[in-house]
Assembly symmetry: C2
Homo-oligomer: 282 residues x 2
Amino acid sequence: MKKIHIIGLGLLGGSFALALKKVKPEYIFTGYDSNPKNVEDALALGIIEESAEQPHDDTDLIVLATPANTLEEILLETLDQVGPSTLVMDFGSTKENLCKAVSQHPKRAQYLAGHPIAGTEYSGPKAALADLLDKKVFIICEMELTDVHLKAIAYEVLESLNMKLRFMDPEEHDRHLAFVSHLSHVSSFMLGKTVLDKMEDEKNIFDMAGSGFASTVRLAKSSAEMWAPILEENKSNVLEALSLYIANLSKFRDKIIADDYDGLKGEMKKINKIGDILDLGR
Amino acid sequence: MKKIHIIGLGLLGGSFALALKKVKPEYIFTGYDSNPKNVEDALALGIIEESAEQPHDDTDLIVLATPANTLEEILLETLDQVGPSTLVMDFGSTKENLCKAVSQHPKRAQYLAGHPIAGTEYSGPKAALADLLDKKVFIICEMELTDVHLKAIAYEVLESLNMKLRFMDPEEHDRHLAFVSHLSHVSSFMLGKTVLDKMEDEKNIFDMAGSGFASTVRLAKSSAEMWAPILEENKSNVLEALSLYIANLSKFRDKIIADDYDGLKGEMKKINKIGDILDLGR
């Protein structure tokens, strides 16, 4: 029997508990959220059995699943308080600042820097799904800095969720995520804004959304409370990705202005390759 | 019994025939495609019963479902040749140039300017789906210029496919589509390019695609042969949409540079409204 405490009872924290309960019904979950409504919902949905601001002393694993800009403070405080046999793991979308902040902590070896590559555009405990993490990638940074025995707790849990472990440096993680995830969100939000600014008639937007818009704008439904902090934490990488994206759009626009449709066609054909990459796993 | 001839046996032309055959098994379909492999596939898949470069004289409806930049020539030629009881309808993604080109044709009243708002990122007859058009919007431009008796053929067919008819000016159509559809494709292609240029390791792209990338980049799998002509046909509207998009991205970047995270948050919250609009129909 294991005791798990979750701080941040939203989409990820909630999905993690729901999934784990299915395969490990003997586990006991406690949890906390700064929003009392989330605690109430998490109890009602069976995400946690008990609301507790502090984890019990014999908790095996503490999971931090709060917005990116809150993690540093919560992680350092949590490590200050835990006993020697508790592992602290986070689910943050950025890793570089966090790993730096914790690097000199005397209990650094009790921390595992993690990031499950899964999500939806919805948030909060009611958005949690028992199959959200199933077969998804879980990135671990600086795995060599975590105590080998405590690490085993995380591996057991992540394996029972069918997650695929990947290992990378925090810097590499943040750079890649800026391109593959954070830029996608910015591009989607700005697409939503461009359409909303221009088209006053909402019925027209809805009627024509089937033409590809619904898919590209999906991420613009995402929580601003969650995403502003991610952009803040990963500022330099996001700015690099965003600047390259704007430059590519501008060059593409220049080709349209110049009526260089063969050039556009050639470029689009090269980019079609992305389909093969995304279909790798099928 | 009706005879329908389809020119362009790809995703849309093929899906149209497959859907109509389900509800109207008595209809007979002939068709043509400049690519002999598409004709062969369309015959094998039961999209058409007979390959024919020219429609039979007693054909009731000719559907043009070829790339946007080929439609003008095919439409004018087809109208030149048809008898008085045949309706010609197109499925093109742009309408302004086409409606202008046909405006002085002596058989203008035998043409219906249409655009089904449906598609996938795949193309060709093998990508055709019998349910692709089901309950989707079908936009008709300049409906008042089509002969009332011939129009009835189109309405009967479109209604039996459960399509929702919307009416708009060709100029309005092209302006809206530039924002809701064409810009989505450009944003998606350039997102794909930005990520491909930067991340050499394809395995990393694949591993992290779950983080929102797969959805926003989906349209970058689309056919270059189909999309370059659409950008060409709708050049001025696409340039306007693309310039506004780039300006919005640049302003968003400025806010990140200025550490204005409250500004970013406020902006993202406003854009979240797009979710309510897209969910209108649910």
